[in-house]
């Protein structure tokens, strides 16, 4: 650990990353037309290509298997077409020798083989498509531009069937596990398809609808409301019937049925990544029985080899939010290993001092041809000549590629030579190129805010290619607008605010302890506040896990580490009374036993947890025979008492999924299976019956569900409108429920009835108000973005992990807590936060102190302060995102936005309406 030698084979791209401008001319000229593998061969592409527009890096590459030069030593058209001279067809692979301290494996997942798909007619029947193919058909940027057509005849289908569990939960193909994501992605595709074609009839055939993720059941509900039909059945096969596809299935009553559809979608499961065994061998890690990375329930991001971590679906099938979370968590663990060498291989770029600029604007305009991308449509010369005539423009130039390294140097020289104090580049989009040009003008001693772009490529030459004259006129207008704005540009300060290198973790359950240990492990002080008298939270109540790992030991070990860590200070029986400040600079008052202490810290982690739902249904609290799964778990841990348990009934989703709580708690199905197996372990002749709505033993938990069934646990399905009835007769409980397969009521009189109750959030309203971090309708904390920023809040410097975010098993809480710690340690490790110059600025002189801005700011980046006797608004620059909501709503026009002032925007409007 801490010292790995890695050999990395790098395949050639044949196009130089640094020289390629992403213009796409190579692809235009490339004569090798090939199937577009990225679009499942539903479209055509070229050997020289970029797979999709958002690809990183945003440059092209050449596929050697399809390039005519690589296969036949002919062609080379792209080489002469590329004006940036970025193509080298003689490039060969190279080997990189890397010396690294930690390794993260993130090879993703593999695809279910076509052999498995062929069982459902795939490959033989053209209108049987995979989930990935169907998604492409619904995608606006896909091969049909979002038009859903069937491949055989390009007609719009009227009825589509989705068949779930393809290549997954299927022992016959070796994949006994559940792929966790297919139910949800099938629902998403079905909803999108309905949005495109409201009359489309969609039926989803499923075994259990596993929408266990945060808020996923709401999507299922929406799908129902849109008329999507859910059929509980596994489909046996697909047959051709004229132009239609006939599927046969058995319904819940055991009746054999046949039904015809125009199209069948196979939302395939996730396979272990291709060559997982090779990777395991190379890296010296172990795989599980399905060739996914073997991890331990309590260290879900660690492989069997110390210092090698895992993220994403290689750890087990999972969706985007969890993959992104795992990735941050794995990075946090690697950062712990690399603590000693942090910041050692960093080169800091230096810039010349900023020059004092003259009052009179001296604007330089650089018009880019982008090879022929702009120049082929827009008359660049006439545009440049026009720019020269504008007031304050003292220099104009034309560039073949404004972004090329040598042009950057020229721009720097011209700024100095002509004493330019504002620069306009008319080229591509500021979203990708503004930072580059801002660097360039900084190199010339100008403040980077003295820069403006006119987008005459993406918004002009590319989209008006057929009307070159109009495109030229539009380019002139866009440059006139940019110059008008440039006249009013002012240098803006580039602030760096210091960060107090200490974290506050609120909540001392397993998530809070894990996060604190990681942050301290990275070398930062950490204050851990726990409301109750002991650390551990829900872990204190746990006795067993499905995987056989011991939660008691986890608690003991973790608590001991936390208690003994010199950088962690623990407060128990403590509450957070007040939080003020912003990222890098928070002050929190913590009360313990009547004394209040004030702590300064740079970041906050919210790990306040959740607790079990307290049921009132099914005679709970009125009969001794009715317990929760947690209470049953405790009974089973005391072996003597457990031996007397012979006949147990379990009821799933008590209070959950629409009864009291609207959501699924993710853990209860696994808990039920675990307790059922434990009962049978203690007493093999015991009878266990589970009443369930959908068994959500996702991922590798499915193996235990299978095992329970094999061992004779009875699983009986019920619908929400016909739940089991529990009554008490002569001191004994009796359970009545409809068995749909038998078509009759069954009556059971067990020794015990165990209720699977969900997880409810801790009371979080007060904390939510204090931190200005919102809650979901269900009362859990709401992250900034479920996929892109799953462990952060929209308010900077505050992070989220564990049950406070939503119900989840221990392993996911641990991974998420590591992720939150990883994100929180970014400002801690930097030691400062950089403020973008686009932040808002309040004119204290005209501010009337109404506070509208403070109320509206979504980032808690404006606060009211006292200036003399009056209330005034003040921007917290470190938290501001520059959205401008405050400026737009300020009744006294006292707030202006850096680089987007009212005057600047109005000057752009005015310039547009002046004619050329």
């Amino acid at each position: 650990m801490g010292n790995f030698a890695a050999k990395v084979r790098r395949q050639p791209r044949y196009i130089d990353l640094d020289l390629c401008t992403g213009c796409g001319i190579c692809a235009d000229y490339c004569p090798a037309i090939v199937g577009d593998a990225y679009r499942e061969n539903l479209a055509l592409s070229k050997a020289a290509r970029r797979d999709y527009v958002q690809a990183v890096p945003a440059t092209y590459y050449i596929d050697p298997e399809q390039c005519l030069f690589q296969s036949h030593e002919m062609c080379r058209i792209c080489v002469s077409a590329c004006q940036a001279q970025a193509i080298n067809l003689y490039e060969h692979e190279d080997m990189l020798d890397l010396n690294v301290g930690a390794v993260i494996l993130a090879p993703g997942f593999g695809r279910i083989s076509e052999e498995v798909l062929a069982k459902y007619g795939y490959g033989r029947l053209p209108d049987v498509v995979t989930g990935v193919e169907f998604e492409l058909l619904t995608s606006a940027s896909g091969p049909t531009m979002g038009s859903i057509i069937r491949p055989s005849d390009s007609e719009h289908p009227h009825a589509v069937a989705f068949l779930q569990c393809i290549g997954t939960r299927d022992v016959s193909c070796g994949n006994g596990y559940c792929s966790s994501v297919c139910c949800m992605y099938a629902i998403k595709e079905a909803i999108v398809a309905k949005e495109h074609e409201p009359d489309l009839k969609i039926s989803i055939f499923y075994m259990d609808m596993r929408t266990q993720g945060k808020e996923f059941d709401y999507a299922r509900q929406r799908a129902r409301e849109k008329g999507i039909r859910f059929v509980r059945s596994r489909v046996a096969g697909v047959k051709e019937n004229g132009k239609a596809l006939e599927i046969s299935y058995v319904d819940e009553a055991g009746k054999h049925l046949k039904e015809s559809f125009d199209m069948v979608v196979l939302p395939e499961g996730l396979e272990s990544p291709r060559d997982a065994q090779g990777l395991a061998e190379t890296s010296g890690i172990e795989l599980n029985r399905y060739d996914f990375c073997r991890t331990h329930a309590f260290s879900p991001l660690e492989t069997s080899r110390e210092g090698i971590f895992v993220a994403g679906a290689f750890q087990g099938p999972k969706d985007v939010p969890e993959s992104v979370t795992d990735a941050s968590g794995a990075a946090a663990l690697a950062a712990e290993v690399l603590k000693e060498v942090r910041g050692t291989e960093v080169e800091t770029k230096t810039y010349p001092d900023e020059i004092e600029i003259e009052d009179e604007p001296r604007i330089g305009v650089f018009v880019c041809s982008c090879g022929t991308n702009i120049g082929g449509v827009v008359d660049v010369k006439s545009v440049a000549e026009y720019a020269e005539t504008m007031d304050n423009v003292v220099y104009t130039d034309m560039n073949l590629y404004s972004c090329a390294q040598n042009t950057q140097e020229t721009i720097t020289e011209k700024i100095k030579e002509h004493r330019l104090n504002r620069v306009v580049v008319a080229a591509c989009t500021p979203r990708t190129h503004e930072p580059l040009f801002q660097e360039t003008i900084k190199d010339a001693g100008l403040n980077r805010s003295l820069f403006e772009m006119a987008n005459i490529r993406d918004h002009c030459s590319w989209v008006h290619a057929m009307v070159p004259e109009a495109a030229t006129e539009k380019s002139k207008d866009l440059i006139r607008m940019a110059v008008a704005k440039a006249r009013g540009l002012e240098p803006l300060p580039e602030q760096k605010l210091p960060v107090i290198q200490r974290a506050l973790v609120i909540g001392g359950g397993i998530a809070g302890m894990t996060a604190a240990l990681n942050i301290a492990g990275q070398g930062f002080e950490c204050v851990l506040v726990e409301e109750s008298e002991a650390l551990g939270g829900n872990l204190r109540r746990m006795h067993a896990t499905l995987t056989g790992d011991d939660p008691k030991k986890l608690l003991e070990d973790t608590e001991a580490k936390v208690r003994s860590h010199p950088l962690i200070k623990v407060y128990t029986e403590a509450t957070v009374d007040d939080v003020s400040g912003y990222v890098g600079n928070f002050i929190t008052s913590i009360s313990t036993n009547g004394t209040t202490e004030s702590v300064e810290h740079g970041v906050i982690l919210v790990t306040t947890g959740g607790k079990p739902y307290e049921p009132t249904q099914y005679l709970y609290g009125r009969s001794d025979q009715v317990v929760t799964q947690g209470e049953l778990e405790e009974k089973l841990a005391g072996a003597e008492e457990a031996k007397g348990i012979n006949d147990v009934v379990m009821i799933q989703c008590v209070g959950s999924r629409g009864e009291d709580l609207a959501y699924c708690s993710k853990v209860c199905c696994g808990q039920a299976v675990r307790n059922a197996l434990k009962i049978l372990e203690i007493n093999p002749s015991a009878q266990v019956t589970v009443f369930y709505r959908d068994m959500r033993t996702y991922g590798f938990m499915e193996d235990y569900y299978q095992l329970a069934r094999e061992k004779g646990v009875m699983f009986i399905h019920f619908d929400m409108d016909q739940p089991p009835e529990v009554t008490e007769k002569q001191g004994r409980i009796q359970i009545e429920c409809l068995d749909k397969i038998m078509g009759e009521k069954i009556v059971l009189e067990p020794d015990l009835l165990a209720l699977s109750v969900g997880i409810v959030p801790s009371r979080s309203e007060a904390l939510s108000k204090m931190l200005k971090t919102p809650l979901t309708a269900d009362g859990f904390f709401l992250e900034a973005h479920p996929k892109l920023r799953p462990v952060e809040f929209s308010v900077d410097g505050i992070y989220l992990g564990g049950l406070a975010h939503g119900p989840k098993p221990i392993s996911e809480s641990i991974a998420q807590a590591a992720a939150a710690a990883g994100k929180a340690s970014i400002p801690l490790a930097n030691g400062h936060v950089t403020v973008e110059p686009i932040v808002s600025f309040v004119d204290v002189g005209t501010c009337i102190g109404c506070g509208i801005c403070e109320t509206l700011c979504p980032y808690a980046a404006i606060r009211m302060i006292k200036v003399g006797k009056r209330k005034k608004a003040e921007t917290i620059s470190a938290s501001c995102k520059g959205c401008g909501i405050c400026a737009a709503h300020c009744p006294s026009l006292s707030i202006s936005m850096g680089g987007f002032t009212n005057e600047q925007i109005l000057s752009q409007i005015k310039a547009l309406c002046e004619s050329a």
């Binding site: 539009k474 520059g882 547009l912």
Partner: protein, 67 residues
């Protein structure tokens, strides 16, 4: 003969979504009429009604807000 009417449209586009979408339209070479001129803002929350009134006042035929 009357010339066909070519409106002058001011577009206020959010940097994070609609402006990015207009960029993507470019990358995909979607062709659309050349009547719109975009003003980039960091969020449509920045939209002050004043901008719309001013645009119409100084001669724009229409205003497009995309966010």
């Amino acid at each position: 003969m009357l010339q066909s009417f070519e409106p002058k449209i001011v577009g206020f586009l959010c940097n994070w979504c609609c402006y990015a979408a207009a960029d993507s339209a470019g990358v995909a070479r979607f062709q659309y009429p050349p009547n719109i001129r975009a003003i980039r803002i960091m969020c449509t929350g920045r939209m002050d009604p004043l901008f719309i009134i001013d645009a119409l006042h100084v001669g724009a035929d229409a205003v497009f807000v995309g966010g």
